[in-house]
Symmetry: D2
Subunit: 446 residues, 4 copies
Amino acid sequence: MMLVQRRILPWRRIRSARSFSSTPARALIRSIEDLPDRIKPSYVQRPPATLLSLQWPSPPRNILITKKKRTPGITESLVEYTTHLSTTYPSINIILPPESAAEVHEQLSFPVYTYKEPRPDSTPQHLSDKVDLVCTLGGDGTILRASSLFSHSATVPPVLSFAMGTIGFLGEWKFKEYKRAFREVYMSGASDAYAKLEVPEHLHSTTDPRTPASTSDPLDQPLSYNDIRGKAMGSNRTARILLRNRLRVGVFGPSGQRINSTHSDGDTYALNEVIVHRGSSPHLKIVDVYVGGRFLTEGVADGMIISSPTGSTAYSLSSGGSIVHPLVPSLLLTPICPRSLSFRPLVLPAETPITLRLGEKNRGREVEVSIDGKRISGGMGVGMEVRVVGEEVRTADGDWVGGVPSIVRGVNGLEEREEDHWVGGLNALLKFNYPFGDQDADGAGR
Amino acid sequence: MMLVQRRILPWRRIRSARSFSSTPARALIRSIEDLPDRIKPSYVQRPPATLLSLQWPSPPRNILITKKKRTPGITESLVEYTTHLSTTYPSINIILPPESAAEVHEQLSFPVYTYKEPRPDSTPQHLSDKVDLVCTLGGDGTILRASSLFSHSATVPPVLSFAMGTIGFLGEWKFKEYKRAFREVYMSGASDAYAKLEVPEHLHSTTDPRTPASTSDPLDQPLSYNDIRGKAMGSNRTARILLRNRLRVGVFGPSGQRINSTHSDGDTYALNEVIVHRGSSPHLKIVDVYVGGRFLTEGVADGMIISSPTGSTAYSLSSGGSIVHPLVPSLLLTPICPRSLSFRPLVLPAETPITLRLGEKNRGREVEVSIDGKRISGGMGVGMEVRVVGEEVRTADGDWVGGVPSIVRGVNGLEEREEDHWVGGLNALLKFNYPFGDQDADGAGR
Amino acid sequence: MMLVQRRILPWRRIRSARSFSSTPARALIRSIEDLPDRIKPSYVQRPPATLLSLQWPSPPRNILITKKKRTPGITESLVEYTTHLSTTYPSINIILPPESAAEVHEQLSFPVYTYKEPRPDSTPQHLSDKVDLVCTLGGDGTILRASSLFSHSATVPPVLSFAMGTIGFLGEWKFKEYKRAFREVYMSGASDAYAKLEVPEHLHSTTDPRTPASTSDPLDQPLSYNDIRGKAMGSNRTARILLRNRLRVGVFGPSGQRINSTHSDGDTYALNEVIVHRGSSPHLKIVDVYVGGRFLTEGVADGMIISSPTGSTAYSLSSGGSIVHPLVPSLLLTPICPRSLSFRPLVLPAETPITLRLGEKNRGREVEVSIDGKRISGGMGVGMEVRVVGEEVRTADGDWVGGVPSIVRGVNGLEEREEDHWVGGLNALLKFNYPFGDQDADGAGR
Amino acid sequence: MMLVQRRILPWRRIRSARSFSSTPARALIRSIEDLPDRIKPSYVQRPPATLLSLQWPSPPRNILITKKKRTPGITESLVEYTTHLSTTYPSINIILPPESAAEVHEQLSFPVYTYKEPRPDSTPQHLSDKVDLVCTLGGDGTILRASSLFSHSATVPPVLSFAMGTIGFLGEWKFKEYKRAFREVYMSGASDAYAKLEVPEHLHSTTDPRTPASTSDPLDQPLSYNDIRGKAMGSNRTARILLRNRLRVGVFGPSGQRINSTHSDGDTYALNEVIVHRGSSPHLKIVDVYVGGRFLTEGVADGMIISSPTGSTAYSLSSGGSIVHPLVPSLLLTPICPRSLSFRPLVLPAETPITLRLGEKNRGREVEVSIDGKRISGGMGVGMEVRVVGEEVRTADGDWVGGVPSIVRGVNGLEEREEDHWVGGLNALLKFNYPFGDQDADGAGR
Ligand SMILES: NC(=O)C1=CN([C@@H]2O[C@H](COP(=O)(O)OP(=O)(O)OC[C@H]3O[C@@H](n4cnc5c(N)ncnc54)[C@H](O)[C@@H]3O)[C@@H](O)[C@H]2O)C=CC1
Ligand SMILES: NC(=O)C1=CN([C@@H]2O[C@H](COP(=O)(O)OP(=O)(O)OC[C@H]3O[C@@H](n4cnc5c(N)ncnc54)[C@H](O)[C@@H]3O)[C@@H](O)[C@H]2O)C=CC1
Ligand SMILES: NC(=O)C1=CN([C@@H]2O[C@H](COP(=O)(O)OP(=O)(O)OC[C@H]3O[C@@H](n4cnc5c(N)ncnc54)[C@H](O)[C@@H]3O)[C@@H](O)[C@H]2O)C=CC1
Ligand SMILES: NC(=O)C1=CN([C@@H]2O[C@H](COP(=O)(O)OP(=O)(O)OC[C@H]3O[C@@H](n4cnc5c(N)ncnc54)[C@H](O)[C@@H]3O)[C@@H](O)[C@H]2O)C=CC1
């Protein structure tokens, strides 16, 4: 077990991972390494061409919660949320990023787990082995940042995202729905096996200080065996998953060696896109584009975007790309301010490798490379390449792996399918095809 | 004087143009030919690069009023408006299009004037010699139709447009403002000479049935000498005019002869645009484009638009053209669905002649030609040309002529310049750069 | 057997389908009904995410050949091509459309088969039961027309297309390559079973007048058992197939009944797109768009396109749509001249149903509906709907069905994969990202 | 007089500006201050709406010549060109930028003049008081750089630009035409007064080493009185000027004070555009846009361009702006990658002031500001503004001032007007509406 000095890193010296009852809980920040191993859910698609159903083999235990920075009120929400989880789902362990952990752990009556900040261009260790479920409090940027914690992992835990303030395009749930949302996810696909859930002893005591004496909301009741028997949603009542395909991105030097990779196999996964851009250089850049191993074109432009369908509503949209539904298995090639009248954006099969190469013609040294809005240190020089291919999300056996499993509103099997998130977002958020006319003046519309 | 049988055309046999007091006024539809000649205002620009000021040499008398078709309540508004004008400005003569005249004259206690429906591709006779001011009740389409009544005239009377229901992009005033709006226009630039206005005798009698017994609104008071003395706006308090440049359009046959022209000099003026289009032919058309007499390009497309800056927010906008402020002296060449990746819309100097020629390569016979949304009968065959140039709106002496003088909100010199119509319209009507995000949900915006 | 009088329809009274040796062959036009039933090839994809391999269970026999209209020299090419096939592959039967058959059969020394012109909105009978392979001589339009002959069939025979004059985007082969191209297709995937091919007796006689006395080109040699043994390409040397997904289109009346359908199940398949368009009406149309059964938006526009990825380089491109690779399983929704600043084209999953509905707001009666550039008679009135979904091209068992199996250049397994057709077409035909600058002047490029 | 040490700056200690005959000419670099004052030409427009005619009151004397950097062969061309000028037009003085002067003066047999490198964000002193004519050897970038030497001057000398290698969009002449081009410019509008030109004495001597013994090209003959008499082009045969309007740009701090201005009145003139851009910040910037003093919109984007019509074919084009003819008096507002579906580019009247303001919402500190591709040091922080208005190019008296007077091909009055530069450039350089199809394959075109 890793023990760390408070002075150095924000965790407390602790005697034993399970000894939190003997010391005041609030002081503790524990290491993620102490947690039990990750529980991987499975995903079922039935009928074909629909969203997936989330199915836990046993209840999730290790919950990573991330939040937006510099947002008023967000810390209070984080405390409220973690307290609810800890009170209602006593077997759950809360994981927070180091900064959040340091910020809030003294306000909490239960231990939190954290990890070490990774080096630049790296991801934190152990996350992908320990985290069962990710919850984000924030906007699209917070989801991107959470997803980038797993940008070197082939499988990302399901992500439950709460919008704080305004709804984003990737996000889904309003924060005020958090109790219901979490309950649905927690119980998703629960079978009888679920009933084997071990309920910690102290929950049977009525004097547990963490349990409010009386509460009218069943979602606030600690979840015990009995609760579950009645409420298990069953394998037909499951949280719905939109599996967002990612890009696999590698950066290579002029002689073909990998660059900027801190781990063995080397690729980085992107949720939105990878971008090469002139950055602060005032001059056009010249990027050779290869598709499926063949030379396609020489792009003379501010930059070039290779985007997932998810990213089609992000930077690619601003650069004139089409809007592509996240379930279309594809890659988008969208130029940024191309010096050409005829560089129409392209939509290519997800399995087609695309390479961007910085040819000899470029003046100056470097272009900037960024993944999901985060710059890769070092950028890209003449002769270097960015190689991209769509992530595979289905094994030969038909199992769903990879992607970012995003939990969307509505529960399969339980109720009428709600308003489609994506179509709704087009209208409500992107103001897609917003009608002309003086609606407000006379209430009459066009 | 022209006398017409009621059976044939909607005007009444009348004995004398001035004899209306001896027969019940309501029965009369008179000929526009009986009216005194047109009073032409002048336009002053001071300081440079601002809107123009409208200045009447003497009060306008002959008012043409047009309305939208098939719109509930619009006939009532027309009756209300003409009654107000007739009551308050007794020296004013109301001109209505034949159909409107027939529809409403029995509801009116004063005579209305009208003209004969022109033949196809023609404009009504006498309008441009008689009409001092045009008022439209409707939307952009109504303004376009009113303007097309003068599409063979070099000078169009000022146009005061009232939106019925929803505000349009060309229109300006809400109908509920009609009293103030008309008063401002009527008095615009009124000098002392204005006081010579002859007030009809009956107005001094208090028993005139048309005058409401008592009214609190000064804008309802018949306008007599005394009224004017106090209220004359003076040459510094004038209605503001946006002079909308038109296009001069000619259609020519393969051997250079004019086509579709019913009048001597032949050109037709367009307010928005002239369009050639494949219409119901399923095939691409091939249009040769000449700019300034030189071959520019062969357009292979659904069609081609040559637009005024005013028309830049109409069809050209839908086809991907830029938005051009109506005061930029220019012509827009915008292709409709061009079979090319590189046919970017062009903005050319207003004085550059543009020719669209239907080359030999075209399959089938005809493309459709339309001006301001109205098809020219016959269309255009192989070898035919549409020739366009921007209308000149300033003489060598600096006088302002031509264009469609559109009366916009706000009075020069009187008050703080109000919200710029055009910028306001971009935001309110075209939803220009409408912000992303979930404004409604949380009231928080982006 | 169907016998038809020459005067009425262009086929000859013939005694027996097999009796052609006793009468001069050139006079005969036979009915397609006389032909043996279709031989359906299978398609194999190995490795994944590549083009398919064509595999005939036995050699194709019934070849439909279509040609472009009104093109100089094309009839000569048709005669040359059919003569080559008949001479070199004696067991082959040539099928021509009625008009072509009538035009050329007197120049041929062998019988041709044909079918009856279908009624409007119908497809010819028997074609899908009899045709093993389609060859087109022409351009993209010719391929579209050939494909529309099968627009009511779930399976289309492989299509081998020869460009006459200029290469099109859908087409593939140059006419001068026809011998090699046909041989590759004919032998594609040939296994040992192929060797059982029965060689007509007369071919062993050296006096057959159809065989040139001596020819140096092995591709001109009649294909006998021996030839095949040496030249069989084997199951690893196969013609490459790009399976172009089609759209399934249905038109429905206000009360949900099918319109314009002459056959039972009713849907029509489109290769490029289905379009609704204002046609010759000068006014904007208002089209309600539903995606996946939910209301997406009210489009106010010239029209609306639902396109396959194949059609993404056709009308959709002209209307501003992205270019989508034919192997991306998707549907494109592209508006034509939308009266909106914010109607960005959409790319949706192929399996998502899209409905276009003509709402009550539309002025005038009708919009035009066209499929692959051919107008559907009757158009579409208020309350009517066009319903579209992507064709499924793979059965649950993983077999490839449906689509238009387009034979592309290069032979799997035989040689290095040639230049990718699609990427090549972007550059060579669409002038994709055509570089700026004065290339010609100094040969130096930018 | 300014004397500079060779070691420090590339000018030689010289005794007197006119003493060059006593020392070997080649060693000399003189100060621009020694030159006679600038001769300002006038510009005449006749007929209206055409290009201007250049008219010198007396022959130009002080010629500034700039060249592209790092281009093979360019130094040789510079030597060739200056030698020709010096030999043929003995009264001419050659001005070179300091770096060029140092590089080539030892290869020249005549003195060159130069100036001191300015401080950042400044322009060189004296240039606008001394330079009669600017010649550029290079591409568009070279013209932009030359124009920026006068970016604080209200009047720019005429610019004669020679393309080296490839033709640019702003440039005009091929280098091989330099003799004729210069002669035309030199003599443009020459009247009888021109004949007073003093011919240096040594030119009458036949032994002047700079004169080739015999030359067949009359353009190589030193220009003496006699030459001129015969060849004076007269006031009707003049070089044609395209007066390219510039933008007047000011940068202001949060409290309204001018920023980055090293001179009194403060504004900087731009030929192409002024840009604000996120630069190397990975986040969207939020720019408030004011038009004519009124708030137009909040742009959320990579950046924002305010462009002249000249700049419409530069960065604005890449960002989706329309192509605007340089003679349309207008400003373009074009967003760079706006996070909006509805931010269509705008074309505004040249006299409308536009302000870009960096609001409080921006994360991070700075956006980059660049003028004609050159970054302004310091960038722009929260609360700062860029204010832009079109330069006025005509005085109240109708005189033409300001702008960048660009000498275009063809001579007014002398010959048939040649191919319009701008239309030609669209086709030849921008590949405007480049036709689809397989032109090369069969030479047949579409
Ligand atoms: N994405 C883009 O299109 C970018 C464009 N630029 C443009 O580059 C200009 C600066 O030029 P350089 O220093 O040479 O930079 P550069 O090396 O980035 O080249 C700019 C390119 O734009 C062309 N160009 C410049 N002005 C033009 C005009 N008015 N019309 C047509 N083409 C034009 C040049 O020929 C050159 O090909 C800036 O004023 C800006 O307009 C600068 C950065 C990015
Ligand atoms: N404004 C436009 O772009 C229009 C396009 N069309 C297209 O024309 C098609 C019908 O073709 P035709 O009867 O020959 O009409 P047509 O004579 O109007 O020619 C259509 C052009 O589109 C090309 N084309 C057709 N399908 C293509 C594809 N999938 N990819 C790239 N290019 C393609 C053809 O080579 C031809 O140049 C329709 O399916 C529609 O897509 C039809 C009308 C207008
Ligand atoms: N796809 C399109 O965008 C089409 C546009 N039109 C436009 O419609 C005009 C004729 O109008 P209607 O007879 O009422 O036809 P319509 O019933 O098709 O309506 C045209 C629409 O354009 C608006 N409009 C007209 N002129 C405008 C302007 N200058 N700026 C902004 N909006 C404007 C009107 O308010 C109306 O919403 C034509 O001049 C043409 O510009 C016509 C056909 C198709
Ligand atoms: N000009 C542009 O449009 C730019 C866009 N970006 C995008 O921002 C992303 C990074 O996000 P932040 O760090 O928050 O940067 P940020 O502060 O620049 O905000 C990016 C905006 O994009 C939205 N967004 C992110 N992903 C989205 C998606 N998949 N669909 C729809 N909207 C989405 C966010 O809600 C936010 O409004 C990058 O992945 C890139 O796509 C980054 C720079 C410029």
